[in-house]
């Protein structure tokens, strides 16, 4: 197992190198805005632009730039300076991780709390009116654009522009250090909006898993043992059906931490990683794009690993020693 984890970590590192290389190449080969030109202003002369290009180090060969960049990261954990913010990339990212993590983990708890019971009940009462109606609602939630859902929720419940002004609206994010209530209040709407689609996905996913599992022979065995039905469902059924859900959860959290909550962060004005990515791309801010992408890849690699390890604990049939 230990050997396996070690091997996976090495793979992850190789993966991060690959990602960073690809980003470099994409940035240089594909049409994109030129950071030097953007910085120069509209009436700059070609000379001026060239000087700025030199000062940003963009005149050196791509390969050299890449090697220098990786050296800085490797030896100094230095991800460079953002062109746009003139601040160190790592401090920008660390600054933005808190909000994104708050949003992600809170939403994940919420969507599990909503999705799992709904999935189980729907599976046990498959084809009932309850099941059919929750599945229709979940389909609607999955299809609803997050941005739209976010705006609707603001217009309904935000304390500044809402019809029923009961919850803090856009731009009211507070870090956890401001106190748990000040922190959680403004996150209620974003959590709900981000969790809505996922709760629906998880409910549907768990439902179909659960229906399959409840048809398994070992469920019949559990019943034949005389176990009460509640225990058959909650212990034997859920224990099996939940495993793929845990996998999904790990990957979803990794992806969200990598900045994928971009729409929710935008509509609720939460200063998270997603918004940082958006700004960075908009401004052709290479060091920032690189940094955010690497951090994102890092989270995805880490959570993949976490999922694999969790899987080994959850499903005793999986043994990594054999791999």
């Amino acid at each position: 197992m230990l050997e396996y984890i070690l091997r996976r970590v090495l793979w992850g590192v190789a993966m991060l190198f690959l990602v960073s290389g690809v980003i470099f190449v994409i940035f240089y080969l594909l049409p994109s805005a030129d950071p030097a030109t953007l910085r120069a202003g509209r009436q700059a002369s070609p000379d001026q632009i060239e000087r700025i290009r030199e000062s940003l180090g963009l005149d050196r060969p791509v390969f050299i730039q890449y090697v220098d960049y990786m050296k800085q990261i490797f030896f100094h954990f230095d991800f460079g300076y953002s062109y746009q913010y003139e601040t160190s990339v790592s401090s920008l990212i660390f600054d933005r991780l808190g909000p994104t993590a708050s949003l992600t983990f809170g939403a994940a708890i919420l969507w599990l709390l909503m999705g799992i019971p709904i999935g189980i009940i729907s599976a046990v009462r498959a084809r009932s009116l309850l099941d059919r109606s929750t599945m229709v609602i979940s389909l609607a939630l999955i299809s609803a654009p997050v941005f739209w859902l976010g705006l609707i929720s603001l217009y309904l419940f935000a304390d500044d522009i809402g019809l029923i002004p009961i919850l803090p609206g856009a731009g009211s994010y507070e870090p956890l250090s401001a106190g748990p209530i000040a922190w959680a209040g403004p996150l209620i709407l974003p959590w709900t909006v981000l969790a809505a689609a996922s709760a629906a996905v998880y409910a549907r996913y768990l439902r179909s898993d659960m229906i399959d599992v409840m048809g398994e022979d070992y469920i019949r065995t559990a019943r034949a043992k005389g176990l009460p039905e509640r225990k058959v469902v909650m212990k034997h059924g859920v224990r099996s059906a939940i495993t793929p859900v845990i996998t999904l959860l790990g990957l979803d959290i990794g992806v969200l931490l990598a900045g994928n909550a971009i729409l929710t962060e935008s509509v609720f004005n939460i200063p998270g990683v997603g918004r940082l990515v958006l700004d960075a791309i908009d401004k052709a801010d290479l060091p920032l794009i690189q940094g955010v992408t690497l951090f994102g890849a890092f989270f995805i690699v880490i959570f993949n690993l976490v999922v694999d390890i969790a899987y080994a604990y959850l499903d005793p049939r999986v043994r990594y020693d054999d791999l």
Binding site: P31, G41, R42, Q43, P46, I49, S55, E86, L92, A158
Partner: protein, 596 residues
Amino acid sequence: MKRNKALAVGVASLSIVAMLALASCGGSSGTATTDFPLPTEAPSDAQKGGTIEVLSGSDIDYMDPGASYYQFTFMIHYAMFRPLLSWPPGETKTPQPDLAAEQPTISDDGKTVTFKIREGVKFAPPVDRDVTSADVKYAIERGLMPGVANGYIGAYMDGLDGFDAAIESVESDPTVAPDISGIKTPDDQTIVFELTDTTSATLIQALSLPVSAPVPEEYAKQYDSESPSTYGDHVAATGPYMVENDAKGALTGYEPGKEIRLVRNPNWDSSSDARPAYADRITVKEGYADSASASRQILTGEGQVNGDFGPPPSVLREAATRYKEQLSLPTSGGSRYVSLNTQLAPLDDLNVRKAVLAATNREALRLTAGGEAAGAIANHFIPPDIPGFEEAGGFDGTGADFLEKPAGDLALAAEYMKKAGYKSGKYDGNDELLMVGDDSASSRQIGEIMLDTFQKLGFKVNYRPVSQEIMYTKFCGTPAAKVAICATTGWLKDFNDAESLLDPTFNGNNILPSNNVNWPQLDVESINDAMAKAALLTDQDERTKAWADIDRQITAQAPALPWIWDNSPVIWSENVAPVINLFNATADLSYTSLKK
């Protein structure tokens, strides 16, 4: 051109439904700018104290006053920094002394401009010392360093003695600010600008921008030696407000993309400044991606004004009826136009260009921006409130028949096509025209309208919507890309002088192989010559007349289709007593107060 969010991005989040709703109730009698308040003075009972919140979609461009070049950043910077000259809220003609004690004196030959600096202006902590003329000299010189990269001094101050030598010097050592020999500081309170020619008019105007705000060299040097400069993280304020900072000067109140917290500058002396500075604190809250909900938040909220976004059409309409007293529509000093490549067949034929202009429905184009409240329909290139606008024909236009009918005149267009040699009145050649526009929702609508117009005239058009940055850097700014039509170009004044609007954009001598902003690539010798002469005029009336005349000449060349002179809507919460700065077309944070 300083960046203006409304111009640059248009109204990106505007929905088609909202636009149609606005269009259907619009018609000819709609919202006129004058229906709304345009306060340029604080009420006599204005209160001191409280916090004003500025809501914004994105961050400022640069905290460094030497690098900032963005309307929204100027809104903040004019509350933090004191350039030699600045624009009091109601002023549109002449910048007024700010750090300068009085208006500059200009030598008889028009080549030397001398400023006296106000005494007792101090830098904010931790610099804590009196400002001297050397601080202004350093501020301008550091703008040439690639790590600061000021975007406009190259255009407006290149007439200074020793400017070229300074550029050479900075090329050999980019970590040190070069000396511009034409800027002299005979004593601590005097700064002299020596020009090689009589270009003092633009120089003086340019000195009303944040680059002339003093920068303490001994403090800034260490940050400027880095590339890019990190002085932006340590700026030393001179105005009534400063960003919260620590004992070393590092800004603790600036969280890029999140928040900027301005507090009172303890070293600011109100007796040295006309700004009343009512609010105790100004907090800029960034990241409001949806301008509709953010605008509503301002209108229904408390103590808030808009930053880098204007209300989208749906909210603008609501504001115009329900919140009449919370909306102001100052003109932005910018215009938007569709650029036609005057060097590329068949658009190199003046009659073809006139036909395109005649055929286009500019009312339809204006609807993409939000209809009448968005601004007046343009028919030449100097916008309202800029000297020369009235003289060039004002809202009635220059008299060009092809711009007479805002809804378009297809019959006239056909006539011009015939004059150009197309007997049917339609283009019958085989050239395919490349049209590029930015790909935001409203800009795409502009593209569609132009596509339709060109097709009506028989042209085949290859329309490529791309991101705005790509449009400027890869296509429209690069003549070699042979773009025939740049659908979504626009230009915003840097200051209230027509030269800054017409010279970079229509002077043939300014066509560059990259980063070109003369998008139509207009190169008419008589116009180029007229501009060269007009640039040297120092008398305001003469200048105004000359540039108005140039505007007429350019319009007659039909290098581009002007279609709107943008308004720059300002909105505020009910308990805010706003003062609008007509020059910057935003709320003036140093004059705006909270009602009790």
